[in-house]
């Protein structure tokens, strides 16, 4: 299967052949599986997948089985981007010295979870972006270390319950807000940065395609609900991702050469209560704490609107 050439405008532009095999051990209703499936449909066969440890790595490759139909390389948490830059440099050297793959363009796709990107792999990611390797980096962000049993990571949002931020008299869930990985990537002045969401598959695939076509480092930050870790029902995966966009908790951004754009505009924003009440990890929140999160989201949305220079995300409208 070749890489996607034309833009994905409607659902019918998504190619039918599968490049990611079914039968992996990901949980029922896991959004990461959906993201990988859509990603592999975009990048096709001419790609080398470099994967850091995480849910997807563990569940798709139980030896001697693999879900991947591409060349695939396993790496540890901390050196995903370092390994990806090495593969890219080796490809370049092979092309220069021996003239292999002269007529083909081969992309290096690095995939890691939020733990392998926000916390442990940040130094190698920073190095990769700074050196300008031609690597497409995809983060699937399920907002904690779900594979090892729901420990908090830098991506855990404010107030969320995890096993290392328990809820009791002294501690009311995660005390700190989420780390701004987009801001960190932006500080490296890389050509393409985007945030994507599986509830909007055409938008997500279009961002993957643009990242694929970028010559230079690109980062796509994908929101990925986790059914056991977030304490949500299996069928609510896509519903929760859609609510995250509609309440302003997640903004669909695209930054091409430093120019920001909101791809999914929300004229009427829903209150964050709807998003928080559906998830078991936020069930301990009192009305006061919900108002605190609402104020935080309001400030964030205002900041985004000021940055893109238009009213991309509208005010809260109670129904």
């Amino acid at each position: 299967m070749e890489a996607l050439k034309k833009p994905v405008r409607t659902i019918w532009d998504i190619p039918r052949p599968e490049q990611f095999a079914p039968g992996h051990n990901m949980c029922q209703g896991c959004a990461a599986a959906l993201i990988m499936r859509m990603l592999m449909k975009v990048v096709g066969k001419d790609a080398i997948v470099v994967m850091g440890t995480g849910c997807v790595e563990v569940t798709t490759t139980p030896f001697p089985y693999t879900s991947w139909k591409n060349p695939w390389l396993h790496l540890a948490f901390e050196n995903t981007a370092a390994g990806a830059s090495g593969v890219e440099a080796a490809l370049k050297a092979l092309q220069r010295k021996y003239g292999v793959f002269k007529d083909r363009y081969i992309k290096v796709v690095a995939i890691a979870g939020d733990g392998g990107t926000f916390d442990i792999g940040l130094q190698s990611l920073s190095g990769m972006m700074e050196r300008g390797h031609d690597v497409m980096y995809v983060v699937y962000d399920n907002e904690a270390y779900m594979n090892t049993g729901i420990q908090r990571s830098g991506a855990t949002p404010l107030g969320a319950w995890t096993t290392t931020t328990p809820v009791g008299k002294r501690m009311r869930g995660e005390p700190r807000p989420k780390k701004d990985i987009i801001g960190i990537a932006l500080a490296h002045r890389i050509p393409y940065i985007a945030t994507a969401n599986p509830a909007y598959p055409t938008d997500m695939m279009e961002k993957f395609r643009k990242a694929y076509e970028t010559r230079g480092p690109s980062l796509v930050h994908v929101y990925s609900p986790c059914t056991p870790g977030w304490r949500i029902r299996n069928e609510h995966t896509i519903h929760v991702s859609r609510l995250a966009v509609q309440t302003g908790m997640w903004v669909q951004l695209e930054i091409e050469n430093g120019k920001p754009r909101v791809t999914v505009k929300v004229p009427k924003r829903k209150p964050v209560r709807e998003y928080l009440r559906i998830q078991g990890r936020f069930r301990h929140l009192t009305e006061e704490e919900i108002q605190k999160i609402q104020r935080m989201v309001d400030e964030y949305v205002e900041e985004i609107n000021r940055w893109v220079g238009e009213q991309a995300i509208g005010p809260v409208v109670e129904e």
């Binding site: 990901m26 029922q28 896991c30 001697p64």
Partner: protein
């Protein structure tokens, strides 16, 4: 996936049976062979598509995380005379029964039915 498939090899390459047949450095030379692993035992409820109600919007196929909804070129004529070029079938070997398809279906053409033996 057929019933009498050879389980000792995939894509013509034999699986290791002894320790010295295992590929060097843990290479897996069988791309995409997890499709042999059947995950149907995970589910307690199974989706059933009502072909009469289905409007072929493709959303269940797009949102399925396990590629368990198959898009086949099969013509279907509803009782009202509407002609569709594609049909959607469920791959019951890999469906884990999460219910995303039934939840996201805009016309409620997919029902989650309890699995019975």
């Amino acid at each position: 996936m057929t019933e009498n498939q050879d389980v000792t090899r995939y894509l013509g390459k034999k699986y290791p049976t002894k320790w010295d047949e295992v590929p060097i450095a843990g290479i897996v030379p069988w791309p995409g062979n997890t499709e042999e692993l059947k995950t149907h035992a995970w589910r307690t409820i199974k989706p059933v598509i009502d072909q009469e109600k289905c409007i072929r919007c493709r959303l269940c196929w797009v949102y399925c995380p396990d590629s368990a909804i198959l898009e086949v070129d099969e013509e279907y004529v509803t009782s009202k005379g509407r002609r569709y070029k594609v049909s959607y079938k469920v791959d019951y070997d890999h469906c884990k029964g999460c219910g995303i398809c039934a939840f996201e279906c805009p016309v409620n053409a997919i029902q989650m039915v309890p699995e019975e033996r």
